[in-house]
């Protein structure tokens, strides 16, 4: 069975140089920031694929390229067999696009304050000329709000309720794939639990596929079927949650898991990880993690490790076994 989404050797480079005249006068080179570098993964239908990583690891950039908000510099995204970067038939692209929706991190910034909830939710359908009669009311009830809420404005809702409205809007065009970029990071734990449960229920009910982007390992462990760990724009490890959390194979994953606070870690004294994420404009040679890696050898600074299968996981490390 072909996967619903295939991300193939995806790269994105941003030009962060100073303006042309400043560059000439100050004799500066062009500054190119590689946000995503050679990332490939598949998402089978009705599965949750999670991308985790720290800030600057490129997880949101990948999400934006999958929904088409950013064009890849190299590589492509194939959804339902249509390569969205190379397909020239506008009708085919249009058909696939309506199957992809997105939920953003900040429910305060992603709803138009001047629109009524009814119009916000119906917009994805209305924009394509569909029938929006009673649509918002039906969806609001499905996400645990009341049908009467359709006549209200976003400011009348709390953060958790707003995120429910965002979810209702994402469901309006009956999508197959929803890209969720840190959907619960702005919410309190008890509200987060409500929203995550809702997302699980909707996934079962509508047969949805999620690309779930988060920095929170515990949330990812709960939600995902497969987890991809990103470091400096590269996929360093991909495994099922149980596998990843019991036997992390990449030294970066190991470091990340050790650093995450544990609920039963009373008075735990851990040696915190050394160093910080390097400058993505001048990334280290070879494996990007080698300056912070406790087991790095000479080969790590010279040769970039490719993702390879180790056990049931894919790992980009020369030494993993």
């Amino acid at each position: 069975m072909t996967p619903l989404v295939r991300v193939d050797r995806l790269s994105r480079i941003f030009d962060v140089s100073k303006p042309w005249l400043n560059r000439m006068l100050e004799r500066l080179p062009r500054a190119l920031l590689t946000a995503v570098s050679d990332v490939s993964f598949d998402i089978p239908e009705r599965q949750v694929y999670a991308l985790v990583g720290e800030s600057g690891s490129g997880k949101s950039t990948i999400g934006r390229m999958v929904v088409g908000l950013l064009r890849p510099s190299e590589g492509g995204v194939t959804v339902e067999g249509i390569d969205l970067t190379r397909e020239t038939d506008a009708d085919k692209i249009e058909a696939v696009r309506s199957d992809i929706q997105m939920i953003f991190q900040d429910p305060y910034a992603s709803l138009n304050p001047r629109w009524k909830v009814r119009d916000i939710i119906a917009e994805p359908v209305a924009a394509r000329g569909g029938d929006t009669q009673g649509l918002a009311e039906r969806l609001l009830e499905q996400v645990g709000l009341a049908a009467e809420d359709a006549g209200k404005f976003p400011h009348e809702f709390s953060g958790g309720q707003r995120q429910r409205i965002c979810i209702a809007r994402a469901l309006a065009s009956e999508p197959k794939l929803i890209v969720c970029d840190e959907p619960t990071s702005a919410l309190d734990v008890s509200v987060q639990a409500q929203v995550l449960n809702l997302m699980s229920d909707l996934k079962e009910e509508f047969g949805l596929t999620y690309l779930f982007i988060s920095h929170d390992l515990t949330v990812v462990q709960h939600m995902a079927d497969t987890i991809g760990v990103l470091y400096l724009g590269r996929l360093v490890e991909e495994a099922a949650p149980d596998d990843l959390f019991t036997t992390p194979r990449h030294p970066y994953t190991q470091m990340l898991l050790a650093a995450a606070p544990k609920m039963d870690g009373f008075g735990r004294e851990v040696e915190p990880p050394q160093g910080e994420i390097p400058d993505p404009i001048n990334p280290p040679t070879g494996c990007a993690f080698h300056p912070r890696c406790p087991i790095a050898v000479a080969r790590c600074s010279a040769e970039r490790p490719e993702l390879r299968f180790v056990g049931g996981a894919r790992v980009a490390c020369h030494l993993a076994q």
């Binding site: 720290e54 709390s158 953060g159 734990v189 008890s190 639990a193 995550l196 920095h215 606070p261 609920m263």
Partner: protein, 327 residues
């Protein structure tokens, strides 16, 4: 933990509005001893930060302390004149905020900010202050401190900036540090570095710490005791291990259950129904009763339960027993 550094007694903070007088902090009492880390947890709007701001006397008007007492090393500080309070802030109490960029002056090199604080509060010469500033930066783990002392805040990364803020909070050798969500804006690996640093410095100097956060994992690893706040009131207060493993207040239990870690292996997370009431529309009796699975008639009646009128640990008429929590 012998001598008490901070003692808060029946603190009430009020915000008068046209419709009603709101109480974001309602009869909160706790102590923090020398070298002790008290974790304060709760969801947004529970009154965590407001309690911290009341202690350092930085409540934004029209919020004010309506009643209650705050003692720092035995001296009452809640009714102090602003001028005297300025000496206490910085000298006796250090602050670490969530966003390190807003607590540093972007126009001053970090060295100047450190020496300024020390010259204000300590009886030392400018030359001594500079030496101490370098030492303080070295202590919080900033590499090449002597060169970086002339750098501006924007030249540091987020984690390094938070280290500078910690150095700034500790440079006048305060007896109390209030850390308000110090790691919320940071990545996991940097968070671990900052937490380890804060723990080490406080242990070495015997500084009392009030750690305000919403992250139960951070509390578990860092705090000695934990105070759980709900709708401006203390819901539960006790040793961190007891409160987190065998919670007595149903709200603490719900909060623990809704973290993905605690629901390991379950398909669904346990969730607390509803949401926290708005301050203008607090229910009668126990503020948690509309969401509580154990509500009985007594919970709806005023006065609501407090730590003092209950078992001293949980403000609940029908606290959860050891046996139930173990289920």
């Amino acid at each position: 933990m012998s001598d008490t550094v901070l003692s808060v007694r029946d603190l009430v903070v009020e915000i008068p509005t046209r419709a009603a007088v709101l109480r974001p902090v309602d009869k909160v009492s706790y102590d923090i001893g020398r070298g002790e880390i008290l974790g304060v947890v709760g969801e947004s709007g529970a009154g965590k930060s407001m309690t911290g701001n009341a202690v350092i006397g930085l409540l934004d008007r029209p919020a004010r302390i309506a009643s209650g007492e705050i003692y720092l090393n035995g001296t009452r500080i809640d009714d102090m004149a602003q001028r005297d309070m300025r000496r206490v802030r910085g000298k006796e109490i250090g602050m670490v905020f969530q966003d390190p960029l807003t607590s540093l002056n972007p126009l001053l090199p970090i060295g100047d900010q450190l020496t300024e604080t020390m010259l204000e509060h300590l009886d030392i010469t400018p030359r001594e202050a500079e030496g101490r500033a370098v030492a303080a930066l070295e202590e919080v783990g900033i590499p090449a401190a002597r060169e970086r002392i002339n750098s501006y805040p924007h030249e540091f990364s987020g984690g390094m900036r938070q280290r500078v803020v910690i150095a700034l909070a500790l440079c006048a050798e305060p007896s109390l540090v209030i850390a308000d969500e110090p790691t919320t804006a940071l990545d996991v690996s940097v968070q671990a570095q900052i937490i380890a640093l804060l723990k080490r410095l406080c242990r070495e100097r015997g500084t009392a710490v009030m750690l305000v956060t919403h992250d139960m994992g951070v509390i578990a690893e860092t705090a000695d005791r934990v105070a759980v706040m709900y709708a401006g009131r203390l819901a539960e207060l006790g040793p961190v291990r007891d409160v987190l493993t065998t919670p007595r207040h149903p709200y603490t239990d719900g909060l623990m259950g809704s973290t993905p870690l605690a629901s390991k292996g379950l398909d669904r997370l346990r969730q607390i129904p509803g949401s926290m009431p708005r301050l203008g529309a607090l229910p009668n009796g126990c503020a948690f009763h509309p969401r509580c699975p154990r509500t009985q008639d007594r919970c709806r009646a005023n006065p609501g339960p407090t730590l003092d009128t209950c078992d001293g640990r949980a403000a609940c008429w029908f606290p959860m027993g050891q046996a139930e929590a173990a289920e």
